[in-house]
């Protein structure tokens, strides 16, 4: 069942069309990647989902119900972090959570708040004012605030921004736990494509305010043509061979002596053979079918 349905969403800010036509759906249990280059309309779309922004057109449904007409009921079951989480700096971590817990729509006890503080690794710091917290600690507190009311859907907008590699891994593991152990549905917007590739099972890519592609991550990657990364000792011989013998192929120089060539699977063997025969000095051949490549391909169109 689709927990989130976005149909032909549009948002104009005056004469500027930030979102023109975005549609996608998120199924129960998905970790859903929401991708797009800067300025594609991702943040605007997410803010529309959370009723921070009023759409100009289109429809948003959660749990089969219109967000517009069931806002309070919907948001009781949704948790979110939008960019960096902001808190009341003059209050302690515990007091911040109490404030948000009070208006979460559910009865949350002090014991549950303490358990959540422990869960995100802030035990011992709950009495400290948030003004003294590092970015990583604020992010943890943001996760605590998101999960406090046990939401069914979690929306994370750039949750790893500013985190160190350890922090990024912790967030990734948390999302996987939420999916596998707690059966949460997660919509995740991130520029960390490698992370999305690892943890997301479905995704949508938008660009210039429109949906470009939506579907299962692995199915989409499988369908795309292969990218080969070839490193050669004699770049000039390599380029000459490609131009003469494989004129339909385009070799992009990535750095000195290393090229990316997009091709169908059946051309790979003949190409490598010809390069070796012509004395290009092939040093390495690495096949790539990465989300990054897919993303660039989709958004360059």
């Amino acid at each position: 069942m689709a927990l989130i349905e976005v149909s032909h969403l549009a948002k104009n800010f005056g004469s500027f069309h930030a979102v023109k036509d975005v549609s996608f759906h998120v199924n129960e249990g998905d970790v859903f990647g929401f991708l797009g280059p800067n300025g594609a309309g991702k943040s605007t779309t997410i803010r529309c989902l959370l009723s921070l922004i009023r759409p100009t057109d289109g429809e948003i449904k959660f749990f089969g119900k219109s967000l517009n007409q069931n806002r309070s009921e919907v948001l009781t079951r949704v948790g979110c972090i939008i960019e960096k989480p902001d808190f009341y700096k003059y209050l302690s971590a515990q007091r911040n959570l109490e404030i948000f817990a009070r208006i979460s729509g559910k009865d949350i006890t002090k014991r549950q708040i303490q358990e959540m503080i422990d869960f995100v690794g802030l035990n011992g710091r709950e009495g400290d004012k948030v003004s003294g917290f590092s970015h990583g600690m604020k992010q943890r507190l943001g996760i605590a605030q998101t999960l406090l009311h046990n939401p069914d859907v979690i929306i994370l907008d750039e949750p790893t921004t500013g985190l160190d590699p350890q922090g990024i891994i912790e967030v990734r593991n948390l999302i996987l736990r939420l999916r596998d152990e707690q059966k949460k549905t997660v919509l995740l917007s991130s520029h960390q494509l490698s992370e999305i590739e690892i943890i997301a099972n479905r995704m949508v890519i938008i660009n210039q305010g429109r949906t470009i592609v939506e579907g299962d991550v692995h199915e989409l990657l499988e369908k795309q043509s292969m990218n080969l990364e070839i490193s050669v000792a004699n770049p000039s011989v390599f380029e000459e061979t490609i131009q003469r013998d494989f004129p339909s192929l385009i070799a992009r120089l990535v750095y000195k002596g290393t090229y990316h060539i997009e091709m169908e699977e059946d051309i790979r063997q003949p190409l490598i053979q010809r390069l070796v025969e012509n004395g290009c000095g092939v040093k390495a051949v690495i096949p790539k079918r990465s989300l990054e490549d897919f993303f660039i391909k989709m958004t360059e169109k």
Binding site: R47, R54, E73, I82, D86, Y88, Y90, I103
Partner: protein, 281 residues
């Protein structure tokens, strides 16, 4: 239910902000300074008020008493207390916008109207606390320092002496009307706060409006005569009417209605603005 829960949140936030105590502290300090000044040289102040009459008349009895001091304090602070209130109430929405917490708040199940109303209720309670504190300091502390007695009031219609026994209810009513005036200021600054992204704007705007309207109110120019009765600043001093004999019931009611109407309209504007606002910060 969500409204009252968030009102508790708002009161907690007000209670833990330093600026809330700046207002109360400044008010206390101002009043203590006035009390000290009156203790040191109140008689010459009285002389100034009664100077015109003292050629032919002599005033006997305890003129400089706690009731007169309370009246003087209420007059002197008519410009200062609105500023102290708007320091807190002007920050309620714009402060959250500036700090980013408005995002966190607006993604909760409470409606936009619920957010505004809970902040307005909290602002009302803060204004009430300031008014009660003003009343306590000016009436009880002044009486403790200066004793009690009849009140001598200089109005534009002349000099009025009100017996002590007739003062308690007048001061009570005056404080209620003063609270209405300050409540209007609080609602005005909250309205400005809905349009701003930082606290300074609403506070400065509120004081600018009060000063501008006050100046227009005192200008003896016929072009403004049509609007003067409807400006809230014209009615901010309505509490003084309680100290007239006979006190003008219809004029006081008129002031109450105008102030309440301002509160309703300003609150309406705030609700509409905040409901329509796209939160992009």
């Amino acid at each position: 239910m969500m409204l009252w829960k968030n009102t508790i949140n708002e009161l907690l936030k007000i209670a833990t902000k330093i600026r809330s105590y700046i207002g109360i502290g400044a008010l206390t300090l101002l009043i203590l300074i006035v009390l000290f000044a009156m203790k040191a040289d109140g008689k010459s102040y009285i002389g100034f008020v009664t100077a015109s009459f003292e050629q032919t008349l002599s005033f006997n009895g305890k003129i400089l008493n706690g009731n007169l001091i309370a009246f003087i304090i209420m007059q002197m602070l008519i410009v200062h207390v609105p500023l102290l209130i708007s320091l807190v109430t002007g920050d309620l929405l714009s402060g959250e916008e500036a700090s980013g917490t408005i995002r966190m708040l607006a993604t909760k199940p409470i409606s936009r109207s619920g957010i505004v109303l809970s902040k307005w209720i909290a602002a009302t309670i803060y204004t009430l606390i300031m008014t009660v504190w003003l009343g306590f300091l000016s009436l009880f502390v002044a009486k403790w320092m200066f004793g009690s007695g009849d009140l001598i009031v200089l109005n534009s219609s002349g000099l009025l002496i009100i017996p002590e026994a007739d003062l308690a209810w007048r001061f009570g009513l005056a404080l209620i009307i003063a609270f209405l005036a300050l409540w209007t200021v609080a609602t005005l600054s909250l309205a400005f706060s809905a349009f701003a992204k930082n606290s300074v704007g609403p506070i400065v705007s509120t004081m600018s409006v009060i000063i501008l309207f006050t100046i227009i109110g005192t200008l003896d120019v016929s072009v403004f005569d049509a609007i003067k009765p409807y400006m809230f600043t014209t009615h901010m001093a309505a509490w003084r009417s309680v100290f007239e004999d006979p006190y003008p019931t219809s004029a006081i009611w008129e002031s109450v209605i105008i102030l309440v109407a301002h509160i309703a309209v300003l609150l309406g504007i705030t609700l509409i603005r905040f409901n329509k606002k796209d939160i992009t910060s």
